[in-house]
């Protein structure tokens, strides 16, 4: 059994915590307030909005789903809750409330001014100020259908594609409401958002504006990744607009030395001010590395060139030199650590991992403690969701797993036997995958809540071709505490704790055809992108007592 096919201890602890966050109701409407564990502080001013926690929390889900392809229900539930919140006032709060020219633009501190070209500082809307309502664009009440604000819809589309990927379900392909200016509501579907992004980008090869009016490779690459994953799931071809943009970026966003080496990759370009912004000298490495997290799976060759240039500029790959991190924000190291692992740059990966282990405070917390997060030396009641959402990616799967999600072949196991009805978060599943050739399902359980260890529980295996002929093994021995329920399922009774199950659902040599599941289930092939006519159920995010913070 491959060790890499199991979720490790940290990944399980992170899953436990994001389950708490995602499934605890709160109110993201204009009269409510997201619970304080949603990170709206990190990487200010650009990312200090809670929707970035929604996005970045979701990145682990497809990686985890690939680790346990026969157990998806928990990832699906978390992704669904994240998407639901993304339709609200608080998700689009910048577009809906940072209206007109920034009245405070003369008051930002030096550490924020450095994110703008020097001669514009103090009289230029800072990154993060979306400036809905300014001339020449006017007020655009829909946060999705806008000339700017790709910053919002690109990441939303990535989250929607993630939902489709982990769930195999079509809920968000049906019409749903998105909150706009003055609480006006706008109808969208996953397919119509993708269509809008593709059409707009086709007409603007320089790239749609992420706020008003800056064009950031970072957010364009996230939007591009959303199209790539969408194409993979639905067998469409929308991603060409990003490929076209990559050609543009190579010509204009990249600056090269006379020798042809990359000197910088602009953080953003403003077509009204006609200025591109990059940091000077070696700090340009930050701009070069910034979009790679999203860009690399889409343009691996160009991405590797950018990576090597950025890493060298910052000197993070040097074995003999001290490690220097001029910018006080763990986001950079978190992203680059994951990239180094992804690209197989072992030296850099180990150096960055050393820094993270020493400085970032990896920490199991909670009552037992079953939850895991890095605290980053911050004396705050909750772990930072955005930063942790990036850090955890280095703990899941093998190197290359991130790219595999977006550009690998699409072979979901939704049509094969699935593990369902697990009493998470009491019981967790660290391994669940089918070996189709031998007709076996491998499942490893663990106590996701230590306090519940030893308690009795039950869970189901569904979509079995012939439940009568199933044989169940636990830790190598025949296991008999199970019963058939319905035509295609069995229920297994077990205790909460670590057990290895092997469910033989097809005798060797026998060519049992696995079942198709419910209507929405993917049959190993890409799905249709036609929208279903019925509406997506409206999820309410009501105020909830911030249940006792389990981490402090």
């Amino acid at each position: 059994m491959s060790e890499a096919l199991e979720l490790n201890q940290r990944a399980r602890g992170w899953l436990r915590f994001i389950w708490d966050k995602a499934t605890t109701e709160d109110d993201w409407s204009s009269t409510g307030d997201p619970l304080p564990w949603w990170d709206r502080t990190s990487t200010a001013p650009m990312c200090a909005f809670p929707r970035f926690d929604l996005s970045e929390t979701s990145y682990a889900l497809p990686l985890m789903a690939d680790q346990t392809p026969a157990w998806r229900e928990v990832y699906t539930e978390i992704a669904d809750q994240l998407v639901g919140r993304y339709t609200t006032f608080w998700a689009a709060i910048d577009w809906l409330t940072l209206i007109g020219p920034d009245p405070n633009l003369r008051n930002y501190p030096p550490e924020w001014l450095v994110w703008m070209p020097e001669q514009l500082r103090g009289h230029y809307n800072p990154p993060g100020w979306t400036a809905n309502g300014v001339k020449p664009w006017g007020l655009q009440p829909d946060p999705i259908a806008a000339d700017g604000n790709l910053f919002f819809r690109g990441f939303f589309n990535l989250l929607l594609s993630t939902y489709s990927y982990v769930s195999g379900d079509e809920k968000w392909e049906r019409p749903f409401k998105v909150t706009g200016y003055n609480n006006r509501l706008f109808d969208w579907t996953q397919h119509s958002i993708t269509g809008f992004i593709e059409n707009q980008w086709a007409e603007r090869p320089q790239g749609p504006h992420c706020e008003n009016t800056k064009i950031w490779p970072y957010c364009l690459s996230a939007a591009g990744l959303s199209l790539q994953l969408y194409d993979k799931v639905f067998s469409t071809s929308t991603h060409w607009v990003y490929e076209q943009w990559i050609d543009y970026a190579k010509k204009y966003f990249v600056k090269r030395s006379r020798g042809g080496n990359i000197e910088s990759f602009a953080f953003y370009y403003d077509p009204i001010e006609k200025m591109a912004y990059s940091m000077p000298d070696k700090l340009a490495g930050y701009g070069t590395l910034a979009p790679l997290f999203y860009l690399y799976p889409q343009a691996p060759e160009f991405g590797r060139e950018l990576y090597e240039s950025g890493i060298q500029q910052l000197g993070w790959n040097s074995r003999k030199d001290n490690f220097v991190q001029p910018i006080d924000d763990p986001r950079w190291l978190s992203m680059v650590l994951m990239l180094a692992r992804e690209l197989g740059d072992v030296t850099t990966e180990q150096r960055l991992a050393s820094v993270a282990e020493r400085e970032f405070g990896p920490n199991f917390f909670g009552d037992d403690p079953d939850r895991f997060a890095w605290r980053f030396g911050l004396e705050e009641p909750y772990p930072r969701g955005q930063l942790n959402g990036l850090m955890i990616l280095s703990e899941i799967g093998e190197p290359g797993a991130w790219s595999q999600v977006y550009n690998g072949s699409y072979t979901p196991q939704f049509h094969l036997p699935m593990v369902e009805g697990v009493d998470f978060p009491s019981l967790g599943i660290s391994e669940a995958h089918n070996d189709e050739a031998t007709g076996q399902l491998h499942v490893t359980t663990y106590a996701a809540t230590s306090a519940d260890s030893g308690n009795e529980t039950s869970w189901r295996v569904t979509q079995l071709p012939d439940p009568e002929s199933v044989t169940v093994y636990r830790d190598g021995s025949i296991f008999t505490h199970w019963k058939r329920i319905g035509d295609k399922s069995i229920e297994i009774k077990s205790t909460i704790g670590t057990d290895r199950f092997r469910i033989v659902w097809s005798a060797p040599g026998k060519t049992s055809k696995p079942l198709a599941g419910k209507k929405s289930i993917v049959m190993g092939a890409a799905r249709s992108s036609e929208a279903s006519p019925t509406s997506a159920p409206t999820k309410q995010y009501r105020p909830a007592a911030p249940s006792s913070c389990s981490c402090c």
Binding site: S30, T41, A48, F89, T97, L98, G100, P101, P103, N104, R106, N107, Y108, P109, P110, E111, W112, L113, V114, E118, Q119, G122, P126, G133, W137, G138, L139, Q140, P141, A145, D147, N182, F196, Q200, E203, R204, Q206, P271, K274, M275, D281, K282, L283, L314, G315, R319, N322, F323, V324, Q325, P326, I327, D328, V346, Q350, R351, L378, E379, E380, R384
Partner: protein
């Protein structure tokens, strides 16, 4: 001596700039003290107060950022280098330069000073296929609702105003200190012991 003169000239230029140049003044958003010094005795404090800069020799205990060079010769060489920021990063790594405070302040100060030299400013670039005004002929435009430009949030939408007040970008724009910085952030980390493990 040379480094002392450089710092004196920079102090005078910034002081003058803060009186005459709106560009400089607009960047002096926070009252603070920035110190440049060398271990062999050269030091100058740059004091920002009320969108003016003054400078005096010596250090200040309440500086928000102190940049300390191992020698004044190193300070002069780096400050005048065309790739000064790159050399500063190298200096951090080799421990020829130490930064107490946030390195972003160093970048801000350096670019503020260099911005006084017109030939060091960035030039504007016109890139092709720019979208600088709405194009109603675009297919995607048909979905966009465009209303007249406005300068501020609808004052009748009271709850939105209250929620905006909770945003970091708004609070900092109103004068707050950016929240949630790592208390333990180290600009330079010695990985010598770990490197041995990596090599082995």
């Amino acid at each position: 001596m040379f480094f002392r003169i450089i710092l004196l000239v920079v102090g005078l230029a910034l002081s003058l700039g803060s009186r005459l140049s709106p560009r400089v003044r607009s960047q002096l958003s926070r009252d603070m003290i920035f110190v440049l010094e060398s271990l062999n005795g050269v030091s100058r404090s740059f004091v920002v107060r009320g969108r003016r800069i003054s400078s005096h020799s010596g250090v200040s205990a309440d500086a928000v950022c102190t940049l300390r060079f191992r020698t004044s010769a190193i300070g002069a060489r780096i400050f005048l280098a065309k790739d000064a920021i790159g050399q500063l990063i190298n200096g951090f790594g080799s421990l020829d330069v130490e930064c107490k405070g946030e390195a972003a302040h160093v970048l801000w100060f350096y670019e503020l000073a260099m911005g006084l030299l017109p030939w060091r400013r960035k030039t504007r670039e016109v890139w092709p296929q720019s979208y600088a005004k709405p194009d109603l002929s675009h297919k995607s435009s048909s979905r966009i609702i465009r209303e007249p430009a406005i300068d501020s949030l609808d004052s009748a939408w009271l709850e939105a105003t209250e929620q905006r007040d909770k945003l970091v970008i708004w609070q900092v724009g109103q004068g707050a200190v950016p929240p949630g910085k790592m208390k333990s952030h180290k600009i330079v980390i010695n990985l010598a012991a770990d490197s041995q493990n990596i090599q082995s």
